[in-house]
Each structure stands twice: as structure tokens, then as C-alpha cells.
């Protein structure tokens, strides 16, 4: 039995094929269902060409298509265009209105989780809480690298949720925060762009030792006289945190959905970079019941040398999920 953690995919994972017109949303949904990942995370601004104008008929077509494949929606990824107008930000009232627009559409689609962009201010979200409660949508602030679970900016949202005692505001972790090892796809791309192998190895070693990124960037840029690709590679370390998976249980009450970020799976279904082997046991131990939603982001790192195959990558990730969930559950039962 696969337990209470559910599996799904974000349509984001198939951006390469959808951008190029090689797959459509129904193709993705059918594929996801075929690998037991029936929970579908949608980006309306990507997947609904008439956004923000969505008719009831369109919603009906989506629901029919999902049920035809035995799939269902899990999460709605919102955006907030604070820079809509040149030279001035949206007012606080306009920001609240934009979020309410998304909460309304989320509710109309029958979705109960909304991914909130990490830059949205906690005080703006506080103003949206009564409407989120009315729409019964959980607003989860995306915890995305270089932020992490215990970053002070994230804790501000957690504080607001605690103070209001609401079940409709919290967080939504992106697993990129658990980058234990430097992704081989990043390294290979920078080497193709001219990074010398010994400098690339130095950067990987520094990351492996969890040396604070600014030391490495200075070493590469100044002391080693790094070229453009080498400096760019070193700078990726600014966005490569390895948060402590053991803290997951403290924050699990605040999230119901996970963006399962990854950059590439090996042929034997191992993620060489993100520490899912440490994260999933923690989720199982605390009885977390949400959805692990694949977010494949490897396309941009390999598209210059090979055909991107997002389906195969996502399939491998789900083999890993099944294995890790089953293993963690059996270990729990033994204890």
C-alpha cells in the first residue's frame, strides 16, 4: 500500500513539450494518470489561454477531461502582476483584488490549494484570509530556494497564520530547498559553455561541503580569474540551499501540497541532487497527507544538446517516490 502521501504532477513539468506544441494538456493529464500521478497542478496563466476570462463551459470541459482520465486538480499556481503598469506598483487594494480574482477562479475549478508566489507580502495575504476562508482555498506561500523553511520571510507568513488561527494560510514548499548535491545537469551545461572542468569540480566540491556561497563566488571570480561560465556557475550557489529535512515535521501542519522540484533523474530512478531519500521518510513519519507534485525543471539545462523527454523524467521520479514511500512505511511499521 502506498499510504497517505498522494502523487501528482504540475503541468509546469511539461513546459518544453507544451511550448513547442508537441503535447497538449490532455496528453499530459493522460500520461500523469497512467503512472498513478492523478493529481494535477495547473498554472492557469500557462494552461488556460483565455485567462483571466474563463467561462463555466470551459471549466466543465476541464472537469470532463480530467474525469475521463481518472485525474483531478490538486493545486492552482497564482501570479500577481504588481508591475502591471510601468513605473508604479499595484496598490495594496489592487493586489488584494487580484488575489481574490484567483481565489474565485480556484474555487470555481474546485481546487482547494493555491500556490502563492513567495514575494507576496504577508500583510497583503492577511487581508485575503477572510475571502480564502469563504472560498475554502488554502493559500500556501511557495517556499522556494534561496529561501527555506525557517527563513525569516517565511516565518512572517507562519506568524500571521498562527495569530489568525486560520487553516487557509500557510506555506507550500518547493523541494529545491533540499539541494544536497550539485545537479550534474547544471555542471554539464556550464562546461559546455566554457567552464574548465577543474573549476567546475572546485565549485561542486565547495557546494558539497556547504561552504557559504559568497566565499566560492569570490574564489572563482577573483582569485581563479574565472571566465563568464565559471562565474555564472558559482553564482548558482546563491540559489542552492540544503535545508534541514528534520525540520519538516515542525512545518507540516502549514502545508498540504509540495512542489517536487527536480532537474534530472538517473536511468535507475535516483535523483542525484535533491535529498528525497531524506525528505520522504520525514513526511511519512509525521503522517503528512498531501500531494507530491512533480515539478521538472531540467529542460532548460539540457535542451541545447538533447531532446527533452519530460515524460520519462517524471516517470522516473514517480518510481523513486513509490520506492521511497514504501520503504519509509515499512521502516515505520518495524519500529
Amino acid at each position: 500500500m502506498s499510504g497517505q502521501i498522494k502523487r501528482g504532477v504540475s503541468l509546469y513539468s511539461f513546459q518544453e513539450e507544451m511550448f513547442l506544441g508537441r503535447m497538449n494538456v490532455e496528453g499530459v493529464v493522460g500520461f500523469a494518470a497512467s503512472i498513478g500521478a492523478a493529481g494535477i497542478e495547473i498554472l492557469p496563466e500557462q494552461n488556460m489561454p483565455t485567462f483571466p476570462h474563463i467561462t463555466d463551459a470551459q471549466i466543465g470541459e476541464w472537469q470532463d477531461m480530467l474525469s475521463h482520465h481518472g485525474a483531478h486538480f490538486t493545486c492552482y499556481d497564482m501570479f500577481l502582476d504588481t508591475k502591471l503598469r510601468k513605473g508604479e506598483l499595484l496598490s495594496d487594494e489592487e493586489q488584494v483584488e487580484s488575489i481574490k480574482r484567483d481565489l474565485t477562479l480556484c474555487n470555481r475549478l474546485g481546487i482547494r490549494n493555491m500556490r502563492v508566489l513567495i514575494f507576496v507580502r504577508p500583510d497583503i495575504l492577511e487581508k485575503c484570509v477572510p475571502y480564502a476562508e469563504q472560498m475554502d482555498v488554502h493559500m500556501g506561500v511557495e517556499v522556494h530556494a534561496p529561501w527555506h523553511l525557517e527563513h525569516a520571510w517565511i516565518l512572517r507568513t507562519v506568524d500571521v497564520a498562527d495569530r489568525l488561527g486560520t487553516q487557509h494560510l500557510g506555506i507550500l514548499p518547493d523541494m529545491g530547498i533540499f539541494m544536497k548535491n550539485y545537479p550534474p545537469e547544471f555542471r554539464a551545461r556550464f562546461e559546455r559553455q566554457g567552464a574548465r572542468p577543474e573549476v567546475a569540480q572546485f565549485i561542486v566540491d565547495q557546494h558539497q561541503q556547504k561552504i557559504m556561497c559568497e566565499y566560492t563566488i569570490y574564489e572563482v571570480a577573483v582569485k581563479m580569474g574565472g571566465n563568464k561560465a565559471e562565474v555564472a556557475m558559482a553564482e548558482t550557489l546563491r540559489h542552492a540551499p540544503y535545508a534541514n529535512p528534520k525540520r519538516i515535521k515542525d512545518y507540516a501542519p502549514y502545508f498540504r501540497h509540495i512542489q517536487a522540484k527536480f532537474y534530472g533523474m538517473t536511468e535507475d530512478c535516483v535523483d542525484p541532487a535533491i535529498a528525497y531519500d531524506e525528505v520522504i521518510p520525514e513526511l511519512v513519519k509525521c503522517g503528512w497527507e498531501g500531494t507530491l507534485s512533480s515539478e521538472y525543471e531540467g529542460n532548460r539545462w539540457i535542451q541545447d544538446v538533447e531532446e527533452v523527454d519530460s515524460r520519462e523524467q517524471v516517470r522516473r521520479q514517480h518510481v523513486m517516490f513509490e520506492n521511497l514511500i514504501a520503504k519509509a512505511q515499512s521502516e515505520l511499521e518495524i519500529v
Binding site: 511550448f19 498554472l43 500557462q46 489561454p49 510601468k86 513567495i118
Partner: protein, 130 residues
């Protein structure tokens, strides 16, 4: 993330009378994983063989009628959807020069959550279909 796919090289054509073209046009996609309102497309810089063409010479049409780049700045109710080609029209007396030339496109976007403007570039060697 999609830079290499922005310009549709096969879409290049002249505009205006066939015997006296007034410009050229090509199809392009937005280099972003979602659609974006037109007011947030700050620049569509076009260059021919590295020579920038004036901003005033460029117009954009996602299907609802051409806009100058200045007009796009306040087109709050129009969007460039994800993965969808729009037409970029360039005024240039005589149309696209004969033979193969390097056409480059730079898109600069105002993306709310990024501290800096997002910039996408594509460059392709193109020629008019015979």
C-alpha cells in the same frame, strides 16, 4: 528558458505590395513559462546583422490588431499567451534584404517577482522563402 525557440525562422515574409515591400514580419513566441499581459513587455528589440532597428519601426500583433511598442505599454487587457506565436511587424522600406541575414530578437519583460527585468534573446540566420 526558451531562448532558442523564440523566432520562427520559417515565418519570415515581406509586408506591403509585393513589388514594393514596406517592411517584413515574422512570428515569435514569448520566452516565459506562462502568458503575460502586453503592458509588461517592455522591449522587443529587433536587429538585422547586428544593426538595431528603431523602436518606432516595430509593431506587435497577437491576433487582435497591431500595436506600437508605446501602445503596448497601456494594453492592460491584452495578453501574449504561453507557447503561442504572435506576429512582429517591422517597417523597413524594401522589406527584408535579399539573401541570408542574422535576425535577432530581444524581449525584456517586467516580471513581478524578479528583482531585475527578464531578458530573452534569440538570433537566427534567416532568408525570405524563394
Amino acid at each position: 528558458m526558451f531562448d532558442r525557440y523564440l523566432i520562427d525562422a520559417g515565418s519570415l515574409r515581406n509586408t506591403g505590395p509585393a513589388d514594393a515591400p514596406t517592411g517584413f514580419a515574422f512570428d515569435a513566441k514569448l520566452g516565459y513559462y506562462r502568458g503575460l499581459g502586453l503592458s509588461m513587455v517592455e522591449k522587443l528589440d529587433i536587429a538585422l546583422d547586428g544593426e538595431p532597428l528603431p523602436r518606432e519601426a516595430v509593431r506587435f500583433d497577437e491576433g487582435l490588431g497591431p500595436l506600437t511598442l508605446d501602445e503596448m505599454e497601456t494594453a492592460y487587457d491584452r495578453r501574449w499567451p504561453f507557447g503561442t506565436a504572435a506576429t512582429i511587424l517591422v517597417d523597413r522600406p524594401g522589406g527584408f534584404p535579399a539573401g541570408e541575414h542574422e535576425l535577432s530578437l530581444l524581449q525584456q519583460l517586467r516580471v513581478s517577482y524578479l528583482p531585475f527585468p527578464a531578458v530573452n534573446t534569440d538570433k537566427k540566420s534567416v532568408s525570405l522563402a524563394a
